[in-house]
Symmetry: C2
C-alpha cells in the first residue's frame, strides 16, 4: 500500500471530513458549549531535526508547531500531552520544554515516555478551545476575497541552511526562526472573527495556498512582488522561500475591502475556480510547491 493511499484511507476512516483532518489539519469537536481544537504532530530524528541539533530546540519546535495549528483556528491553548522517546538529551529537552511552555503559558497535562528505538521519535498533542465560532477553516474562501499572510517568508529556510553549514554558535534571527518558531496565537485569535479561511504556513506558501484553494473550491492568485520576505533574503532566493515551510505564519482570506486587525501583507486574491488551484504571477507555478508529507 502506498503512503498516499494509506493517508487517503485514514482520511476516509475519519468519519466527518469537514471537521477532522489527518496529517495537515486539526480536529474540532463541539462539547458542552465549547469547541475543542485538538492537534497531534510527531517529529522524527534525522527527518524533522538534525541529529546535532540542541534537544532544547527540538522541544520548543514540537510544542510551537502544534500551537501554530491552534493559532490558525483562533484557539486559546489549554494544554499539551507529550510522547517522549527516552534515550539521550533529556536534560536539554526538558530545558527547552520548560521554556516553550512558559513562553506561551501552556500547561503540560500528561503524556507518555517510552524507550526509543534506533532513532528518537517524539509526539505532541495540543488541546485548545475556540475563541470564535464558527471556527476558521481552510474551506471558507470565496471568489473576490483578498489573500494575506503575517510576518515574512524565508527566514526559517535561511536558518536551516546556516545550521547545515555548521554555523551552530551563531544566534542569528534566521537560525532562531528555524529552531524556535513563534506560533501566531494572538494574531490568530484577533483574526478569527474576520477571516473567511485561515491556516498556518508550515509546508511552504505555495503548497499551503494550493491546499486552501482546493479546500475552498476556488483559485488563489498570488502576486510574488507583494510577498513579504526578510531583508536578509537575496532576490534570487524568493521563489525558493515561497515553497519552503517552517515559518509558521498565518495565511488567510478576508472579504474584499476589509483590512486585518493585525500586521499582514496582502499577497493576492481569490478567483472563481479555474484549471489550476493556484496562480503565481498569473501562471500555474512549476517546480516544487512545498514540503509534501509522507
Amino acid at each position: 500500500m502506498t503512503e498516499p493511499a494509506f493517508i487517503a484511507a485514514l482520511r476516509a476512516l475519519a468519519q466527518d471530513p469537514a471537521a477532522r483532518g489527518l496529517d495537515d489539519d486539526v480536529a474540532v469537536i463541539d462539547l458542552g458549549g465549547e469547541s475543542l481544537i485538538l492537534t497531534h504532530d510527531m517529529m522524527v530524528e534525522g527527518i524533522h531535526w538534525l541529529p546535532e541539533q540542541d534537544p532544547a530546540d527540538v522541544a520548543w519546535k514540537l510544542v510551537a508547531t502544534n500551537l501554530s495549528d491552534l493559532a490558525a483556528k483562533g484557539a486559546q491553548p489549554l494544554g499539551v500531552l507529550l510522547g517522549y522517546g527516552l534515550g539521550g538529551g533529556e536534560a536539554r529537552f526538558l530545558a527547552g520544554l520548560e521554556e516553550v511552555l512558559h513562553a506561551f503559558a501552556v500547561p503540560l497535562l500528561g503524556g507518555d515516555t517510552v524507550r526509543r528505538g534506533a532513532s528518537a521519535t517524539h509526539g505532541l498533542t495540543a488541546l485548545g478551545r475556540a475563541t470564535h465560532r464558527p471556527v476558521p477553516s481552510r474551506k471558507g474562501a470565496r471568489a473576490g476575497d483578498t489573500l494575506w499572510v503575517t510576518g515574512t517568508l524565508g527566514a526559517a529556510m535561511l536558518g536551516f541552511e546556516a545550521l547545515k553549514e555548521g554555523q551552530k554558535g551563531s544566534e542569528s534571527p534566521e537560525i532562531a526562526a528555524f529552531t524556535r518558531p513563534v506560533p501566531r496565537l494572538a494574531e490568530g485569535r484577533a483574526l478569527a472573527p474576520h477571516v473567511t479561511a485561515m491556516m498556518d504556513v508550515s509546508d511552504g506558501l505555495l503548497l499551503d495556498a494550493t491546499r486552501l484553494a482546493r479546500a475552498s473550491g476556488i483559485t488563489l492568485a498570488v502576486d510574488s512582488s507583494a510577498c513579504p520576505f526578510p531583508a536578509s533574503l537575496s532576490p534570487e532566493r524568493r521563489r525558493a522561500a515561497l515553497s519552503w515551510g517552517d515559518d509558521y505564519e498565518l495565511l488567510f482570506t478576508l472579504p474584499a475591502g476589509q483590512t486585518p486587525p493585525v500586521p499582514a501583507a496582502c499577497i493576492g486574491k481569490a478567483l472563481p475556480p479555474g484549471p489550476a488551484p493556484l496562480l503565481l504571477d498569473g501562471q500555474a507555478p512549476v517546480g516544487v510547491l512545498g514540503y509534501e508529507h509522507g
Copy 2:
C-alpha cells in the same frame, strides 16, 4: 540525566499533579460544564510489540490501551488522534484500526503521519468525557475499603508466551488477550459512581496496586487465593501472573459492605498506612511487581 529523574522533572513541570499525570495517569480538564479526559500512549517496535506481530494487532492494542485509560475514569470516548510512523505494514495496520474503532464506536479525529526512523513508533491520543464526577482517581482509597478486580489475571502473559514460541497461527483466547485486549469501558462507567479509587491494570497487579496504595496513602492487603486467574493458568504461574501486565482489567476499591454493579472478584482490602504500601498474603512481596516504564 537518568530516566527516573527525567520523568520526575516532567511530573514537576505538570503544574497540577493532582489532576494530571505523566507516563501512567491521564489528564482531567474541566471545561464548559464537562470534565474532559485525555490520555496519550506511544508504542515502539521491538519494545511494545514483536516485529513479527500483525500490524493489525498493533493498531488494535494502541487504541485499546488508551481506551482502557478512559475506562478507568468512567469516561465515554469521544475520539482518537493517531501519530503513525510510515514505512511498512500500512494495509494491515489500517485493517486493525478500522476494526478497533468500530468495535468501540470511537471516531478517528485526526493526527499525523511521519516517515519512521529505523524502528516504527506510533502514538495515540484518546479524548473522552467523564460520565460521573468526581472523576475516579487512584487517590481515593481509604482504610476499610475492599479491593476488587474485573476479569482474570494472566491470560495476556500466556498469550505473549505462546506468540514468542511461534504459535502464530493459533487463535487461542490467551493470544487474543495479549494481541486484542478489550478495554472495560462499560464496566468503568458502571463503577465510576461507586468506587473510592480506580485504575486499569496495565503493568501488573502488584505494581499497579502499589501505585494505587501510594497515591491513596494507605496499605493494600492482597489475598492471592482470592485473585481470579484463567483456567488455563497452572497454579505455579500464579505469582508471575500477578506481576504481568497487559490484561487491562479494572482495579478498584469500594466502601466496606458494598458490592460492585459488574462482575468482579474481591481480592483484598485497604489498611491504614503501614511500612509497606502492599502486602501479599500478609507480607511485603519480594521480586518483580510488574513492568516498570522507562
